[in-house]
Amino acid sequence: MRKILTAIFVIGLVATMAGAGIYAYFSDTETSTGNTFTAGTLDLKLSGISSNGPWSDGVTGTWTLANMMPGDETPTASVYFKNFGSVASSTMEITCNYTVTEETPRAGSDTDPNTDQHPDDMAEHMIITTMIYRNDHVDINCSTGYDSYSKQTKDEWKVNDANGDGKISLYELKLDPLVLPSPDTQPDKVAQLDMSIKFDENAGNDFQGDTFNLTMIFTLKQ
């Protein structure tokens, strides 16, 4: 008997809940169709040739020194920038990253066979001797942060000499990225970076045979 009663209650409860669940108010729905939303783009392209291109997403081999010795310096080479995106940027950040490859087989005169594990040591000896960011409307010396066109100086336009040795190294550029006016802020929308790098005269035997692989990183920001 108890089973019968339980079954009846369960059936009744389920029926009641189902009745309540399917209940709905009258309603009407209309739709606004075809609304379009598009996100813009920032698309920085580089040229290692000229301010007229050809443009690509990256360039290689802009600064090279083969068999470099302390005191050797690259020629001043240029990279050109242009935003091909649909949204204007306000600044461009310039920084770098690097690795060191040890020679194989190891040279006996290389007093540090593990420079690849602490590449910052070699980067401190890669000295930026020229670093000018410019176009027809801006001419910033990134060693001093001075723009000879606007006669302004800004800290964010220069690489800080963190160790105070009077030289600007790639290590210091990595520590303190430059924040420069974007090419978009210029009337012709193109800018260029002129840079040369010297292997420090004071570099020791630790770096003999080592290869310094430099990646310059340019980032457009809104």
């Binding site: 009745g19 009258f26 009407d28 609304n35 379009t36 598009t38 813009g40």
Partner: protein, 180 residues
């Protein structure tokens, strides 16, 4: 015999309980009117009938870009008052963009000084599942209520949304009767 009486009692109790619950859920006035045979038209119209948002005209979104605001008028062209009760949306194209866009929907006041009623504030993508809202105004026959849609991309949005384009169909549902 005793079993039969118990069974009958239990059945009666459940029947009465079911009827009471059903009656308690009944909307009062208008639906009853229908049951009496009087024909009542429930209907609404949206204006404008063209898409509210058009990226060609409105421009493109980017983190921190200006908010885009559009008004949608919901007019009661039926015989009975209604109230806004639900929004939902369907997306086409690069639907991931809906995660990166925020939408606010306000029910604007009728007169100057009347505060708008916030109906929804969240990601556009959350509208895909539909959201129940409490419209403030009971909109009578021949009158309308204005919904203000604002869309923006927050400053925190990342590069994952660059260059995406999508289309959204935004549905508005009203209920009769308008009682909350």
């Amino acid at each position: 015999m005793e079993h039969k009486q118990i069974f009958t009692s239990a059945l009666t109790i459940m029947l009465v309980l079911s009827i009471v619950m059903f009656m308690a859920n009944q909307p009062s006035a208008s639906a009853c009117t229908v049951s009496l045979g009087k024909k009542i038209k429930f209907d609404m119209e949206l204006s404008p009938k063209v898409p509210l948002f058009n990226s060609t005209k409105d421009g493109q979104f980017y983190p921190g870009s200006p908010k885009i605001t559009k008004n949608l008028e919901v007019k009661n062209v039926g015989d009975d008052p209604f109230r806004i009760c639900r929004f939902n949306a369907a997306f086409h194209g690069n639907t991931h963009l809906a995660d990166g866009l925020q939408m606010e929907i306000l029910e604007l006041g009728k007169g100057r000084g009347e505060k708008p009623n916030l109906l929804y504030n969240g990601t556009l993508s959350s509208l895909a599942e539909g959201v129940e809202v409490d419209g403030k105004s009971a909109v009578p026959q021949g009158k309308s209520v204005t919904l203000q849609f604002t869309v923006w991309m927050p400053e925190t949005a990342g590069n994952e949304y660059q260059g995406l384009t999508m289309t959204a169909d935004i549905a508005v549902t009203v209920r009769f009767p308008p009682a909350k």
